[in-house]
Amino acid sequence: MTFGAEHITVRFGDVHALQDVTLDVPTGAVTAVVGGDGAGKSTLMRCLVGKVVPEQGSLRRPPKQQVGYLPSGSGSWRDLTVDENVEFVGRVYRLSRSALDGRRSELLRAAGLLDVGNRLVRNLSGGMRQKLGFVLAMLHRPALVVLDEPSTGVDPVSRVELWRMIAETAADGAAVVMSTTYVDEAERASAVLVLDEGRAALSGRPDEVIAAIPGRVVQVAHPADRRHAWRRGRSFHEWLPDGSPARGNPVLPDLEDTIVAEMLYAREVSR
């Protein structure tokens, strides 16, 4: 089964938060939504969980009982302990005592939180809070898991652990969609949607998206056109539109290169 959105448009007053955006979220896979601040990622996530109703377009999502959601922020109650958070969410989703106990042990152990069950959430580190938020979103084995920037502000070790949990969730058969500002994370997903100012700039499997890069990307020490160049390590990568004279060392572009090149291409075309 595939959840997702079909040609949805969301407007806040005069501002289009999303414009004609389509996203497929298949089961058993992780779909990433990438974009900068204000690109519309959170609005798309909120549409998928039913918090925002689009002005146009349609949504494919399971009933509320089968949706798991981690909003931006930790998604847990700071003045409750870890165990109390789990118990609250378990009761909301009407899990039986035995099912809740089993699920609590399984998920808290996977998240490395089993030993801090009695600790107040406000005393947890940011990474631990995010992992707890993920545990709460996953507790009732939802068919659709929506994660809004789950790894923002999380330390690298916790990010790796979060990714492991996200990948395992998809492997267990859930449809997982996550928004992120980290392109390296999106590259690990089965499919990616790049949002730019509320519009879908790119979408598809990461390798397909990369293969469809417009023009070429080269590595240069000194860019010829600063507007087309971005720093990568100690050197620069520069985008050369089709038909440009060859220069620099050609590089195998990754998703970050592709997204930047696509944005530059879009600006060239619209000029």
């Binding site: 959170s42 609005t43 039913g50 918090k51 009933p63 922020g73 909301v92 940011g126």
Partner: protein, 348 residues
């Protein structure tokens, strides 16, 4: 430093609540203290009963405002009129002997004004203060303070509890969980209602035991008034939470809502002593009606027959305030396209 000053003014200009406290509050305080802060009651509703009623009534001058003269009236009628708050002072005359002036001690400042006016006149009246014979301030303040404490708890604690949910970003999570909006609202309000009800009981018992305040009337009527008043103040708390993005804003707004109730509900300054230009504000405040009921029941043993208008106003307020609050809160939980607004960033 100049840059800092400019930045501060720019921030202040956009912070409407702080501006309201900076500009509005001094003006309100000035007007209130200028006009309302008056303990001297210049008009005291008085009835004169008994065989000598006409003659005695003719001897009464300001501040006594004789509203009823009944030669066939009795002391029992006079006490009943005082209990049901139909008048402030009753003069009971007999065919011979000194007329007895019955004063309603539950209206403290009115009673004090009446007693001092009678003493000044040097007249030969026998003065009896009912319901609060020693004119103790605590007896009058405790029933009013019960209302004020409930208003504080209901308004501030409820709004803080709801705003905490919004500030932490968990309100959005509740909105997408398999709850009905009414479940979320009831689930959020019920604990505060229960706690405030417990507070009502505690404060009342402590007031009675510690300060010796009498409880002359019906406990059930008092509990009913407490429950209705709680619904009003809880509704105010929910309403404040829907217009506040963080706990600081909620507290500021709650103070702006509570301060007029402290000053203009009649619990400190008697409504009767306020000019109508200010007094009408008092009649828009729920605490005014709860104070009327609590003082009436606890001190005078007043019955529903005389208190029903206050119950009615409080009930209308409860339905209106809670209704609007729930509608606004529902909108936060289940937005539609028109109501869709970008969610503010959650606190880290």
């Amino acid at each position: 430093m100049w840059a800092m000053i400019v930045k501060e003014f720019r921030e202040l200009r956009r912070d409407r609540r702080t501006m309201a406290m900076l500009v509005g509050l001094p003006l309100v305080l000035l007007v209130v203290f200028g006009y309302a802060a008056n303990f001297n009651v210049s008009k005291i509703d008085t009835e004169v009963l008994g065989p000598q009623a006409q003659q005695v009534a003719a001897r009464l001058h300001a501040p006594f405002d004789v509203t009823r003269v009944d030669p066939s009236g009795t002391r029992a009628q006079a006490e009943d009129d005082l209990r049901e708050n139909r008048i402030d002072v009753a003069v009971v005359t007999a065919t011979s002997g000194t007329p007895v002036v019955l004063v309603d001690g539950s209206a403290l400042f009115t009673a004090q004004s009446a007693v001092s006016a009678l003493h000044r006149a040097g007249s030969s009246f026998q003065i009896q203060v009912l319901f609060n014979p020693d004119l103790k301030t605590s007896w009058v303040m405790v029933p009013a303070l019960i209302g004020l404490i409930l208003a504080f708890i209901g308004t501030i604690i409820t709004s803080l509890g709801l705003v905490r949910e919004r500030q932490a970003g968990t309100l959005e999570q509740l909105a997408v969980m398999p709850f009905r909006p009414s479940d979320v609202i009831a689930g959020k309000i019920a604990p505060y209602f229960g706690l405030a009800a417990l507070d009502l009981l505690l404060v009342t018992v402590i007031g009675v035991v510690l300060f010796g305040v009498p409880f002359a009337g019906s406990v059930a009527l008092f509990a009913l008034a407490g429950a209705i008043f709680l619904l009003v103040v809880l509704g105010l708390g929910v309403l404040i939470s829907t217009v506040s993005q963080n706990q600081g804003q909620a507290i500021q707004t709650a103070i702006l809502v509570l301060l007029p109730q402290v000053l203009l509900s009649g619990m400190i300054f008697p409504l009767a002593a306020m000019p109508w230009g200010v007094r009408w504000i008092g009649y828009l405040l729920p605490l005014t009606y709860f104070v009327n009921i609590s003082q009436g029941i606890m001190l005078r043993g007043a019955s529903f027959a005389s208190l029903w208008p206050s119950y009615l106003v409080l009930t209308v307020m409860a339905v209106a305030v809670l209704g609007v609050a729930i509608l606004r809160f529902r909108r936060d939980l289940a937005p539609n396209v028109r109501a869709a607004e970008p969610e503010p960033a959650a606190a880290p």
